[in-house]
């Protein structure tokens, strides 16, 4: 029971990350018809927003470390600590939540620049060309980040107050058996909230209604005198924000390096294909489904029956789903066909 709950939480947690990236990918594909291989790079840029904010907050002056006598060693004391004492340390401790707020405008601007500066020139080109150009862009962004921040992962911890684990066993009357890190629970609720927010935005606002109409029939919406392209540009920005926020929130779980986006991109594309190209609910459903399956496939009981299943499960499911439902779980007819 406890092992089941833990793996389920694990799966939901992973699924949350997959779903957030897949949601952005699907938004872009559904509106602009662009297969965006640079989406993983947006996740990575979000993570590096957190790294940058943390570096800014911990700008330090060097003070000689008297405990080292063999050579001249220096300690770094953050200016915030020097100026504000404990308050300064608390601000540094909250680098990730602060980054979350900062990442919204930053990622929106990055998304808009990316769409206006490059992607829009490829709307009417083949998917192969779109993949090539966005993949190239992803590599350029990766190398830029590597040139600035180096190749090594950079620890970006969560605030101290949520650094430990929650004893969820208490809820089931078995304390101590189901222990799960606070930040991972926060990540799960955060991803659900963002997904809910995006769906609500598309469902209950006029803007969202136009976008949805545009996704169904772009030409007709245009004939009604609505400048649908401008709205789609904003959708690209929103997708960039969603990917960026997913990246910021993931930094305490996995110290980011320049390659982190690529690791998620491949999995997220599988998620999109399994969910059905262009289907937002499909992307979310497939994200959580594959996250949970991947988690359960890592259980020793499962691996003892099928060794190595944890590393292939996602691709295996993709093959099966595409065999049974070639358009994916919730795919629509006519998307990427003909």
């Amino acid at each position: 029971m406890d092992a089941f709950v833990l793996q389920m939480l694990n799966g939901l947690d992973k699924g949350g990350a997959y779903a957030l990236i897949a949601l952005g990918l699907t938004l872009i594909f559904g509106t602009l018809g662009v297969v965006n291989f640079a989406h993983g790079a947006l996740f990575m840029l979000g993570a590096f927003c957190a790294v940058t904010i943390q570096k800014l907050l911990t700008l330090s002056k060097k003070v000689k470390d008297e405990s080292i006598t063999f050579f001249d060693a220096y300690k770094e004391i953050p200016y915030l600590e020097t100026w504000f004492g404990d308050t300064g340390l608390v601000i540094i401790d909250y680098a990730v939540p602060i980054s979350l707020l900062a990442a919204i405008p930053i990622m929106l601007i990055i998304g808009l620049i990316m769409e206006r500066g490059l992607i829009r020139f490829f709307y009417n080109r083949s998917h192969a060309e779109q993949i090539l150009v966005t993949f190239g862009l992803a590599i350029v962004l990766q190398e830029l980040v590597k040139a600035i921040y180096g190749a090594n992962p950079i620890p970006t911890p969560a605030p101290e107050v949520v650094a430990g684990s929650a004893d969820l066993g208490i809820l089931f009357g078995v304390p101590g058996t189901i222990v799960y890190p606070y930040w991972r629970l926060i990540y799960l609720f955060f991803s659900l909230a963002v997904i809910g927010g995006v769906f609500a935005f598309l469902q209950f606002t006029t803007f969202g209604m136009v976008v949805r109409a545009g996704m169904q029939d772009r030409e007709t919406v245009g004939l009604l005198g609505i400048h649908v392209e401008r709205r789609f540009t904003i959708v690209f920005g929103i997708a960039a924000v969603v990917a960026g926020l997913a990246g910021v929130m993931y930094t305490p779980i996995l110290p980011p390096d320049y390659h982190i986006g690529m690791e998620f991109l491949v999995l997220s594309f599988v998620v999109v294909v399994v969910g059905g190209m262009g289907s937002l609910p499909g992307a979310v459903l497939a994200g959580f489904l594959l996250g949970i399956l991947q988690s359960f496939a890592s259980m020793n009981e499962v691996k003892s029956i099928i060794p190595g299943i944890d590393q292939i499960i996602i691709y295996l499911i993709a093959v099966i789903v595409l065999q049974v439902r070639p358009r994916g779980l919730l795919g629509r007819k006519g998307v990427m066909e003909g």
Binding site: I68, S298, N300
Partner: protein, 448 residues
């Protein structure tokens, strides 16, 4: 009339052809025989190849290895304060390069990938004309490059590689390792684990799924089972898995009361951090405090994992806080150059560069076979690990091993590990052909 009528028979044509072919081929043979061995240096310089991971999972260690090599080159060339050359028991090196030739170097990025490392080493050998390749941080890479150097006829001085196989089943006559190995980690750690955690423990292994992880898992399991510990599970994790949560959650309710992390570098930082996040360090199982063990530790890793290393046991090849004259000379020299103390990766690479230079000086040549003989059975001291033997049978160094623990109250940013025990060389010495190590050096290759 045909040409054959003029006395040019088919037989004589063939003879002529053979003679011509031999003639054309002759300069090649002469070229080869003009040099006694591959890449014999002819000018006033000799080039060494530093093949380290500059990107990928072990990039931190690679950067530190490169710093150490650069420092070693300085010292060999007679620049700087001389570092460990002042404490090294052999006095063959005179501070004027090697055999009077100034040492130069080229670097390569292994990317912690065997194919990239081999390509990089090949370029160094064929294009840059290096006489020796050195570097490491991944045993998979070290074994692949060692094998390439053997085929090419170049000496390989392994950097940080901890797999038993490097000087075990994959040992090569042209390859030499100063760093300790997984078997020695097990032999050194076991008594300390027994003293701290007792004989009745249930261990759960998470293991990086490649040669180093496998041999460490085997060695540590053997050593702990000999204490009376039970191995509950051995789980393999992909190298660079990133998120280890799906592998850590099954540990929580497995009945195990010890988690052994056979991970290194970025994997180690992530798995240890996540294990602590999941509350394993504060857990009580079977009426005992849950324990985490990291058999192969490094200070760089401890920095990445931050507070999570506190109280966790492991082993290292060397630590900067050692008080012997050799260690202090190296730390002082390295610290003055770079502003922080060296890692164990830096130490082993620095020592390997010096040992190579010293062996060449003693052998009077860079020829791999003669130089190898100078290293085989070589006893030395003053390099930070006490009296050390480069064993001839497997080209493995035997010296003391350190058992360390994450420090509870660090006094400085570098003071993250404390040395719990300096395990004597005798305790970590084994027969060269025990089943875990059975292999053959083969014959050495001069490449010419």
């Amino acid at each position: 009339m045909t040409v054959f009528d003029k006395g040019v028979s088919r037989r004589s044509l063939m003879k002529g052809g053979v003679a011509l072919t031999a003639g054309l081929a002759a300069p090649h043979f002469f070229t080869k025989s003009a040099y006694a061995y591959l890449n014999e240096p002819t000018g006033g310089t000799v080039t060494l190849g530093f093949n380290v991971p500059q990107t990928g999972a072990y990039a931190d260690e690679g950067a530190d290895e490169l710093r150490a090599y650069q420092l070693a080159v300085k010292h060999i060339n007679g620049e700087g304060d001389g570092g460990m050359l002042n404490t090294f028991s052999s006095k063959a090196l005179k501070g004027n390069g090697i055999l009077g030739k100034k040492v130069e170097y080229v670097t390569g990025d292994t990317q912690t990938k065997s194919d990239a490392a081999r390509a990089s080493a090949k370029r160094m050998i064929e294009k840059d004309g290096v006489v020796m390749v050195t570097g490491g941080s991944s045993s998979g890479v070290a074994i692949a490059v060692q094998s390439l150097c053997q085929e090419a006829g170049i000496i390989f001085m392994a950097g940080l590689t901890h797999s038993n196989d490097t000087t075990g089943k994959d040992r090569r006559a042209n390859g030499f390792r100063h760093f300790f190995n997984a078997y020695q980690s097990g032999a050194a750690l076991a008594p300390v684990l027994e003293a701290n955690y007792g004989k009745d423990r249930k261990a759960y292994h998470l293991t990086a799924d490649y040669t180093w992880g496998w041999t460490q898992e085997e060695s540590i399991a053997d050593a702990t089972e000999a204490l009376g510990w039970q191995t509950v599970e051995k789980v393999r994790t992909p190298l660079g898995a990133g998120d280890f949560s799906q592998y850590i959650t099954p540990v929580l309710n497995s009945g195990a009361d010890v988690l052994i992390l056979n991970h290194y570098g970025k994997d180690m930082v992530n798995s240890l951090t996540q294990a602590v996040q999941f509350g394993l360090r504060d857990k009580q199982v079977n009426g005992k405090d849950f324990a985490i063990v990291v058999p192969l530790y490094s200070r760089l890793m401890a920095q990445g994992a931050g507070e999570n290393v506190k109280g966790i046991f492991g082993s290292t090849n060397w630590h900067w806080s050692l008080s012997d004259a050799g260690s202090q000379a190296f730390v002082k020299s390295f610290g003055a150059e770079y502003g922080f103390p060296p890692s164990q990766a830096a130490h082993t690479c620095y020592v390997q560069a010096l040992l190579y230079a010293d062996a060449a000086e003693r052998a009077g040549t860079f020829a791999p076979c003669e130089l190898g003989k100078a290293l085989e059975g070589f006893e030395f001291d003053g390099m930070g690990n006490g009296p050390t033997l480069y064993r001839a049978e497997d080209h493995q160094c035997f010296k003391k091993v350190l058992v360390v623990k994450g420090k509870d109250n660090p006094s400085s940013q570098f003071d993250l590990l404390e040395v719990v025990q300096e395990v004597p060389r005798e305790q970590v010495t084994y027969d060269a052909n025990i089943p875990q190590f059975a292999g053959s050096l083969g014959s050495c290759n001069n490449g010419a």
